[in-house]
Symmetry: C2
Subunit: 392 residues, 2 copies
C-alpha cells in the first residue's frame, strides 16, 4: 500500500471515530470497534490522539444490565465551534454554536431594511470579530460561518437568488463574507436550517422524515430525510407558498392566481384587513376578531382553515412522521393552536394518514436559525485533521 | 481474520463487482479495480467466476481517444430474471423481466372486477407457472415476483391496506403468492414501480429527482431520489389525489372538500358530465367537447387547468429535474398535450421554477408497471451468490 493511501485511511478512520462519538456518545472503545469494524488497537490509538488534544473526555459509567463499569467516551462540545447567523428584514442574530448545538455566546445587530447587502455583510463581519474578541474565543476552533435567511438561495454557489423580504437579488454572500472574515461560509434558506436544527436538537429529534412549515412573512416548508435537508434540483423544494390552493381565488404578487400565501402570509392578511379598517399587524387583526368584528373573523378563520389544509397537503406529499409548525401565525395566537389541536388531524387530514404523524411546535424557538446555520457550517467544514493540526 | 469474515467479504465483493458491471457496463477489469478499490487480482478472480457461470460476456472494444483495444465486460441480461405483475381492475399483466429491464415473455389474464383477492392470486400463480413452462424458463434464474397495483400498499408487510379500484382491504398479497408459487414476493403501489421503471429504463433515465404523476382512475405521484423510491412513513408519499386545491369546492368521496381528484380523476369527470347527459367514458366527454357542447368544455377545460396546477404544485414541493406525465387523461387526448405544452410551463409554473425541470411522457407505456415490479423484485431478491450456487 502507498504512503498516500495509508495517510488517507488514517485520516478517514479518525473522522469516522470522531463523528461516531459525536453523534452517539456515550460510547465505549469496544462499541466503537464493533460499529466501525476497526481493530481494537486502531480504535485505541485514534481515541488517545483525540483525547490528548482535548476533543473528548472519559466518564466511568455503569452499563445497564451487566453491572460492570465501562469507560465511556464523550466529545467535548466546545472543542469545535461555528458561527451561526440569521439575517432578517430588520435584525441580525449571531451566535457561536458548539458541537452540542448550543449557542454559547451571541449578539444582535439591528438592520436598516433598506441597507445594501454589502453594508449588512460588513456589519455582520465586524460583529463576529467583536464577539470573538470579547469572549476570548480561540479562532482555530471556529470551523466556519453558516448563514440562514429568507428567500431563494443558491446553496451550492453560496448566493441569494432572490429574497423579497431583504430586497436582495443575485447576491454573493459566501464569497463576500469569506473575504471579510477569512472563515469558510455556507448559506441557506432559513427554513431549511431551522428544520435541520429542530431535527438534530429540537422537537423532531429521532424523526426519520420531518417537515417544518413556516407561517411567517411568507409560507414555506422544509423536508428532512434521515437527518439531511431535501433540497431538490435548485434548492427550492418545499416552496409551498406558491402552490395553488384555490384556482378561482386571489391574485398573488407572483402573478398567479390562488397561491397559498395569499391566504396565510402576514402581509397578505394585513393587506386584506386594510380594505375594511387601518390594521398594522397580525396582533391588531386578532384583537379585532376578539372584539367581535366579523370581517376580522372572516379573514382569520379562513387563514386557520388554510393552515389546516397546508398540514394535510404536506402529509399527502411527504408522508412525514413529524410536522413542526413555526412562525408568528401559529406560535403567537392561542386561538390558532386551539383550532389546530381541535380540528386539524380529525377534520382536515386525509383519513388514511390520521395518526401517522405528530404535530409539534418549535423547541428552539428564536435560536432555531442561528443553531441550524451553525450546524450547517459544522457539517460542511468540520475537518478533524485540520483541527488537530491547529490545536498542536 | 476469521473464516466467517473472509466468506462475508468474498460474497460482498462478488455482489459489488456484479452490480457495478450491471449498472455501468461496459467496464474493463482495470476500471472495476479503480472504482471498487479492490486489487486487480481480486477483480480478475471474481470476473472469471461470474464469467464461467454465464453471468457475463466480454467484448473487445476500442476505447475512445486511445486507440488501444480493451476487453469490456457486459452482464448477460438473461442470466437473472424476475416476474413483474400488474393487477388492475379488469385485467392482469404478467411479464418475465431480465436484467436490462426487458419484458422477454409475457401473458395477460382477464379479471372479474368483483372476484376475491384469493381467486385473483390463484389465477396469477397459475398463469406464472404456465408461462414458465411454456417458455421453458430455468426456474433457478427467477429471483422473485414483484406486484404493482393501485391503492395504499404496506410495502414492508407485502399487503394491500386499501385499494378502492380493486375493492381490496387489508389483504396479504406477498404471503399468499409466496405460498402458491414458492417465489419471494414484493408488493408496491403501481405508480411507485412505474416511476422506478421510467427512471431506470424509460424517459427519466439519468434524472436525479424525477416525479411521475398518474392521471387515471385516481390521481397520484411518486418521487424517485437518486434512483430510489421516496416512500415516506407509511408508503403514502405522493398521494396528491387528496391534497386540497379548492377549499370551497366539491365534496370528495373521502369526506373532505376540494380534493384534487374530484376535478381530474376519470370517474369524477364522467360523474359530473352525467349531470347533463349520459356519458360513459372520457372519450365520450372529449367528443362532446369537440362537438361544441359547452358543458363538456367547462368540465374538460377545468380539468386541464388542474393538470397544469398539479404540475406546478409538484414542482414547488419536490423541485424535481423531470416530471413524467402518465394516465389516460394526459396520454390519449392531443388537446390536453397541446394545452400542457402551450400553457403549463409559461402560465402555471411559479416563475423561479420555469425551466428547472423537463416535462416528459412515458417511454415504457403499458409495460411500465410490469417492468417496474420486475425491477423491484430484482433489487430486493437478487442474491448473486445463491444464483451462482444454483447455476452450478
Amino acid at each position: 500500500m502507498q504512503k498516500h493511501d495509508q495517510d488517507y485511511i488514517r485520516r478517514k478512520n479518525r473522522s469516522t471515530v470522531f463523528e461516531l462519538i459525536r453523534k452517539h456518545s456515550p460510547l465505549s472503545r469496544a462499541e466503537i470497534a464493533r460499529l466501525t469494524g476497526m481493530s481494537p488497537t486502531t480504535v485505541s490509538r485514534i481515541v488517545s490522539e483525540l483525547y490528548q488534544q482535548d476533543f473528548m473526555h472519559e466518564i466511568e459509567q455503569t452499563t445497564t444490565g451487566v453491572g460492570r463499569k465501562a469507560v465511556m467516551l464523550h466529545v467535548n462540545p466546545g472543542s469545535v465551534l461555528s458561527v451561526g447567523v440569521e439575517i432578517d428584514r430588520s435584525g441580525i442574530r449571531i451566535g457561536i454554536v458548539d458541537l452540542d448545538g448550543k449557542v454559547v455566546h451571541s449578539t444582535q445587530v439591528t438592520r436598516d431594511s433598506r441597507e445594501t447587502p454589502e453594508a449588512t455583510l460588513e456589519r455582520i463581519a465586524s460583529a463576529i470579530e467583536e464577539l470573538i474578541q470579547a469572549e476570548d474565543i480561540d479562532r482555530r476552533k471556529v470551523v466556519g460561518i453558516g448563514v440562514g435567511l429568507p428567500g431563494i438561495v443558491d446553496y451550492a454557489g453560496g448566493s441569494v437568488v432572490l429574497s423579497a423580504q431583504l430586497g436582495w437579488k443575485q447576491t454573493d454572500i459566501a464569497g463576500e463574507l469569506r473575504r471579510l472574515t477569512g472563515f469558510e461560509v455556507a448559506v441557506d434558506n432559513e427554513l431549511k436550517v431551522r428544520a435541520l436544527a429542530e431535527h438534530q436538537y429540537g422537537s423532531a429529534r429521532g424523526s426519520s422524515r420531518s417537515v417544518l412549515i413556516g407561517f411567517g412573512s411568507g409560507v414555506g416548508s422544509s423536508l428532512i430525510i434521515d437527518g439531511e435537508i431535501y433540497r431538490g434540483e435548485t434548492n427550492s423544494a418545499g416552496e409551498i407558498g406558491h402552490t395553488v390552493v384555490d384556482p378561482g381565488g386571489l391574485l398573488c404578487e407572483c402573478g398567479k392566481v390562488g397561491c397559498l400565501q395569499t391566504y396565510i402570509a402576514e402581509a397578505s392578511l394585513v393587506e386584506q384587513a386594510n380594505k375594511i379598517k387601518p390594521i398594522g399587524s397580525l396582533e391588531e387583526l386578532f384583537q379585532a376578531r376578539k372584539d367581535g368584528e366579523y370581517w376580522a373573523a372572516s379573514i382569520v378563520d379562513r387563514a386557520m382553515t388554510f393552515v389546516a389544509v397546508t398540514v394535510s397537503n404536506i402529509a399527502c406529499v411527504y408522508n412525514p412522521d413529524t410536522v413542526i409548525l413555526t412562525g408568528k401565525l401559529v406560535e403567537s395566537f392561542p386561538e390558532v393552536r386551539d383550532f389546530i389541536s381541535d380540528k386539524c388531524m380529525d377534520q382536515f387530514v386525509w383519513e388514511p394518514l390520521r395518526g401517522t404523524f405528530q404535530i409539534v411546535y418549535s423547541a428552539l424557538e428564536s435560536d432555531g436559525v442561528v443553531i441550524g446555520s451553525g450546524i450547517l457550517a459544522q457539517n460542511l467544514f468540520l475537518d478533524i485533521d485540520r483541527q488537530m493540526e491547529q490545536a498542536d
